[in-house]
Amino acid sequence: MKHTPLTILFFLFFSLYFGCLAQSQDKYTEALTIKKLNKNKLLFKFDFNTISKNPNYQNYFLFPKTFGNLVKENSLEYLRFSLTQGMYHLKYGEIGRYSPPGGELIATFETKEDLESKFRTVSRKISGIFGTSQKFSDLTISAQPFYTEFNSLESTSQRTHYSSLPREPVCTENLTPWLKLLPCRSKAGLASLLNPIKLYDLFYHSMSVEVTRSQENSLSFHQQLLLVVELKEFKFSQIFGTPLIGPICPFSSQTKIQIEGFSDYSSFTPTPEEIGNNQVGFILKENLNKKDFNLHYSPKEKTNNNGYNHNNIGNDNSNNGNDNNNNFNNNGINDENISKNQSIKLNRFLKESGKIRGGVITQITNLEKNDLHLTLYDSLPWFMRVYFHTLTIKSNFENKEIEITDLNLESEQGNESNLFANQASLLRIQTSQDHGRPSIFELALVLKPGETFQISVDYLKGFLNFEEHPFDGNRGFDIAPAIVSMHGKKQNLKKRIYYTDSLLLMLPTPDFTMPYNVMTITTTAFLIWYGSFLNNLTGRAGLKLKKKSKAKWIIKPDKF
């Protein structure tokens, strides 16, 4: 057949038309944000977004089927799961939504019926998908935060279940299934940078998946990877072990690298450009595969510090506990551990005396220039039996206790304006049940500029059953951080969530060799009984007293 120009045009038009059609179903974008943080820290934030409009939960294109099924079968509206290694401190700067150490699972369901059993199913499936021990986040540690809003959905208070496993380790075996959810896996696009060997060597590492089903019947799937490194200069090949070689993901409608917070963009090679919306960076096109993209940053004023320091991992936690306790009366603001734009400072530590009692202290400081409206969600496991009457809040302004108003909302979410009518209000209390549910308290707080609240509560340590102890029981128990969420008009754009430090609680541990002791004692007792019994039967069996002998007892063993 001869191809006339008209037929070629016709084909061209159709291929364009169908090409657009193919992509209009699901939309996928990739972005990498490189941000300069305080204290020589750098943030690498990978965002992979898939949006599926009018999904029928049967035919999937770019949206991962596993999560589509999960949403449909459990009537989920929102799901966020994160796995994190290391602790992110706010003093490095605000990076938007971040996650506490270990595994965190938040699920919002359509209705509040059967919430716990549905959550159990979801957490089991998540453990299955990512190879984690999230399934152990049973009802003894998971609960429902009523006044913390994790997403932009409306009135989610009674339909959300939350669990946190602070001790969950993160490993490459968790990253592999995470990468598999991407349309191009790690074979093309920005994800080809994610080399598992290098990734876990960094200061802070947090990967998450977030599924949101919006009212307009669209499903969004957001995969995020946060990496914080301590470097003064960097090269892709140095951090990730490889430059960006692979082609960009052909399914991605936009692949961009965004650069934020650097004063000298000229120190980058290649030099970043304007990419719209007052952003600077690169928009990657398909011709990338002709040349490796190895972004290089070396600031002109060099210091002696070589930058990358392996030993820094985890060492930066020095400012928890007592250091901050001393700062309490110093107004908290002149602290050197505070960054410029930080709006809140959080500390949490244990006040221990022996292995029986103790207390949890949480400090919140307002660093903004106006009042802050906050809610605090604190969930403590059942083996910390909380004495709720010891719940006190001290302010550094008057240096006295603040009266806590009991709003007694009876699990009904009140009007938000009512929540913050007083300086401190108790929104909800849930007492714990042994081997059952955790104890929870939620507070609404209003902090004046520069004010620090010290919230303390005492507890009595519980005894765990023998088999409830982990294998390394003497290491202590990790306690999940409390969640502080910001409310109010100023933060209306996005409700922010902050996490306090996680704690390590030492519990009285039994002697784990006990069962062997019991066995030994029992066997000894049995042996004494049976020995004497046997002696009685056999020892005297052939006993014959010789009549004329001098000796009274001559024992002659029988043939027996």
Binding site: A22, Q58, N69, I129, K187, Y530, L534, N536, L537
Partner: protein, 523 residues
Amino acid sequence: MNTTLKVLLSVFFVILCGSPIWYHTMTVHQTKLPTNKLLNLSSSANPKISIQIKLLFDEQILKTQNKDPFLSKVKKEVTKLSKEFQQEFLTFQINTQAIKLKKDYNNMNDPKKITKFLEESLSFHKEKENQKEKEKENNTEMFEPKYTLVLLNIPNLSEGIYLPPTGRLIWINLGESTNEDNLLNNLRNFFPIFGCITNTTKFTTQTDDLHLSFILLNQDPRGRVLNWEFEEAFNYYLQPTLEKLNKRFSEITFDSEMIAYADLEHFRVHKSNEANRNNEKGVHYSISKKTLRRVIQIGEWSSSVATNKPVLRFILFVPGQKFTPLFINKNSGKNRDAFIVPGIGGISIHNLNKSETQLLNKNDLRRSFLVFANQMRLFLGIKNLEKFNYYDPSNVIHDIELDMLILDTLIKNLNEAKHSLVSLHTLIEELPYMEIPEEIGTHIQNAINEIQFSESNMKKKNYKSAYFSSKRAIEDCNRAFFNPSISSQLYFEMQNRFAIYIPIFLPMLAPLITKLFKQISSF
């Protein structure tokens, strides 16, 4: 009385008193099972299914023959034939009749039109309506294995047996030669349709409930982002069959997804310059048959499915530009582009033409979906028969085949249920120390009831409800058989008890008993 005797007596006293307590604590709860019913049931044979066949001759065939003696002779021969094909559970009832067709159909050569013509002239529509009314009255869908076989001679059309996709009408075109031998030969070819369900080709363990997962595997999406009009293609090629199956036979669900960057690195891909399947010269690539079994075992290729049903995966593999065109090299030298992995699913290779756009539409997918349809037939165990003309390929499973599938499964279910009940019974008898909770008794009773109900329905020729109760019987049997409380005790036999008690009690009792004998002899 000496001390030894006292000790001995006290020990034996303890043993004597302790034994009943020990015995009491060791006895297990055993529910009474309906043993008699169970044995009666297993010894009784299944009721037979009678298939009625109406043999209709066009008078044109009979023109050359002597009508009455010919018909009686044919009937005799057919009865003989049917006995040959009569299976364990099938009996045939055959009626022979000559008819006069109104219109001259000899010039027709489209099987669809002929079928329509036959249906109209034999007033099949009326019968269908009657049946619908009946079903409405009884509020259930009935089906009876009643088939009409029409013998025609249309010289323009090739000789053979024509199987319309719906309805229970089959027609045979005798072609030009209408003699007796040809007729009997054709009838001989027709009877195997009642044995079209085979065990040998059944790749799934359970055919009843299935989940079908369709996957578009795009090896290299670079420069060729691919999407497929799955819904359209599925609705066109497979949905009618699935609806039919779901309505009458089983519960089959499906979903689809796209996976990109599925690598071929695990296979040895050969490059060759030989002529390919269409005898076009040029470079093509091939995977050898030996490496195929690794295909679906690779985790990357199979995706997760959230269902408890057995899953069949149908994969449309689009090789990357580097490996196009790709075929499977068979030992015979012929190149294929589809294969089946028993119990797991089927794969069809789709080599993209340059003219194909980024969206595979219904027509592009036609070949692959027909392959999937045929693979599904294989998975259900339906055999393609020789001399049969399945002239409508879009209809995967024909009504008569589905009837046979249901009847076959019904008989198999009944046999299996009975067999598992009997083996459960023997197991319980062999292991007298096994605990049998109430639950198992109820399940067994339910299974027996369902079997009886199914058999009585078979006698009433209500095969649909017979089939569904046989399905429930199997479920109940499985629940009884795989009850966790008995399966854990299957491995705890009497020998094990001895193995536990002997090492401690034998050394303890030996001195006691010998001493007792000594004492007795000393008196």
